[in-house]
C-alpha cells in the first residue's frame, strides 16, 4: 500500500524517524508478547510432560499466529499514523495534527509557549529516537503538543528552531506606521 506522507516544510527538514513505527509496534503489542511469553512455557511444557507432541506443536503455531496477527495489525495502524502525522512550525503558529481515524489538531501561537523539552523513554533509547515536547499554560496542551519519534539532529534542530522563533516573536516591535499614498 502506497501512501503519501503528510509533508510540511518542517517535517521535510526534520523528518520523523521510520524507527518510530517499529517502536510503536513493539510498545503496542507488548502486552500480548508478555502474555504469550508467560502462557506459552506453562502450556507448552505441560504438553511435553504428558508426551503429546502434536498438541505442543499446535500450541506453538497458535501462539506464533496470534503474535503475527497482533503485530501485523499494530504495524499497519502505526504505519498509517506515521504517514498522516503532521507538524509544522509556520510563521505564526505551531500546528500539530495526528490520528488517522480521529484527527486532533492543536494550534499554539509561539508567544504562548511556556516550556520546550526533549526526552527519551526506555523504548526511545532502544531505538535511538527522541520526543520534542512543548506546552502552553494548559494541561491539555502538555498532553497533545509533542512531536515524538525524531532522530538526534531533528530533535536538536526542532528545539533550537522553537526557542529561536519564540524569543524572536517576543522581542518583536510594533509595525512601522504606513505612509499615505499620493
Amino acid at each position: 500500500m502506497v501512501m503519501n506522507i503528510a509533508s510540511s516544510p518542517t517535517r521535510d527538514k526534520y523528518p520523523l524517524s521510520t524507527r518510530k513505527i517499529a517502536k510503536k509496534t513493539l510498545v503496542g503489542s507488548l502486552a500480548w508478547i508478555i502474555i504469550i511469553a508467560i502462557l506459552y512455557p506453562i502450556i507448552g511444557v505441560s504438553f511435553l510432560y504428558t508426551g503429546s507432541t502434536s498438541d505442543f506443536i499446535t500450541t506453538t503455531l497458535v501462539c506464533l499466529l496470534i503474535l503475527g496477527i497482533v503485530c501485523g495489525i499494530t504495524y499497519a495502524y502505526q504505519y498509517w499514523y506515521f504517514m498522516v502525522y503532521y507538524y509544522d512550525l509556520n510563521q505564526d503558529y505551531i500546528v500539530i495534527k495526528k490520528g488517522p481515524i480521529t484527527p486532533r489538531e492543536i494550534t499554539i501561537p509561539y508567544e504562548r509557549v511556556q516550556d520546550v523539552y526533549v526526552d527519551q523513554d526506555i523504548f526511545d533509547r532502544l531505538f535511538g529516537i527522541y520526543d520534542v515536547h512543548l506546552s502552553s499554560a494548559t494541561i491539555s496542551s502538555g498532553m497533545e503538543a509533542h512531536i515524538d519519534g525524531v532522530e538526534k539532529e531533528g530533535a536538536d534542530g526542532l528545539r533550537q528552531l522553537l526557542l529561536e522563533t519564540v524569543s524572536k516573536k517576543l522581542n518583536r516591535t510594533a509595525p512601522p506606521p504606513p505612509a499615505p499614498r499620493q
Binding site: Y93, T102, T107, P109, S136, M143, L170, P180
Partner: protein, 233 residues
Amino acid sequence: MNNNRVLKDYVSQQRASGVADEIIKNALIQSGWTAEQINQALLDNMTTNESTISENDYPIQQRWIAKYVIGNCIGLVFWTLLTLGSSYRLLTTTFVYLVISTIQIVVVYLRRKYYRYELQSQYLFLHQGVLNKQQRSIPYGVIQHVFVKQDILDRVLGLASLTIENAASGAGASNIFTRYAVKNKKNVNQDIIGFSGNSISIPGLLKDDAEALKTHVLTKMKENPIEDKQSGL
C-alpha cells in the same frame, strides 16, 4: 479609498494592542498623515459597528444531537447484553437506562439551544445556561491554544469540534466538578458543550466551519496581542 482602509486598520490594530491615542497620532503625523485624517480615523474607529461572527455564521448542527442518541443506543445494547443473564430484571434496568439517557439527551439539547458565541472585536463573548445563565468575555490575548478534533462519531456525521483554552484553570466559571476533574486530569478533553473551567468548547460544527472559525479566532488573537508577554522562554 484604499488609503483610508490602511489608516483605519493601523488605528484599530494599535488601539486593540493598548497603544495610547497620542502615540498613534504622533507616529502617524511623522509618517505624513494630516491631523484631520487621523482624527477622523480615530473617531471612525470608536463608532464603527464591525460585523461580528457568531453562531449564525457557523452554526452548531442539529445532527450533533444524533451523536448522543447513537452513543446511548450503543450503550443500551451493551447494557442489555450485560444484564441478559438475569432476565426478570431486564425490563426494569432497560427502562431505567432509557429514562437516564432521555434526560441526558434533553439536557444536551437544551444546553445547545441556549449556547451563543460571538467573536466581538476585542473579546470572545459567550453566553450559556438553561436555568443558571452565564456570560463570559475572553480577551483574545489570553487564549493559549486552539484545538480542532473529531472523534469517531464526528467522522461518521461529518462534524468537528473546536476547543479554545485559556490558562485560568480552576478559576472563573469553573465549578467544584470541573475543579475535581482538572485535579485528577480526567475528562479534561471531554467534549462538553459550552464553557467550564479554562476550556471553551464549540462542538458539532461542520468540518469546514470548524476550520474557518479556527482561522478567525487565530486572526483575532494576532490582532489583539497582550502587552506583557506570557512566555519567559
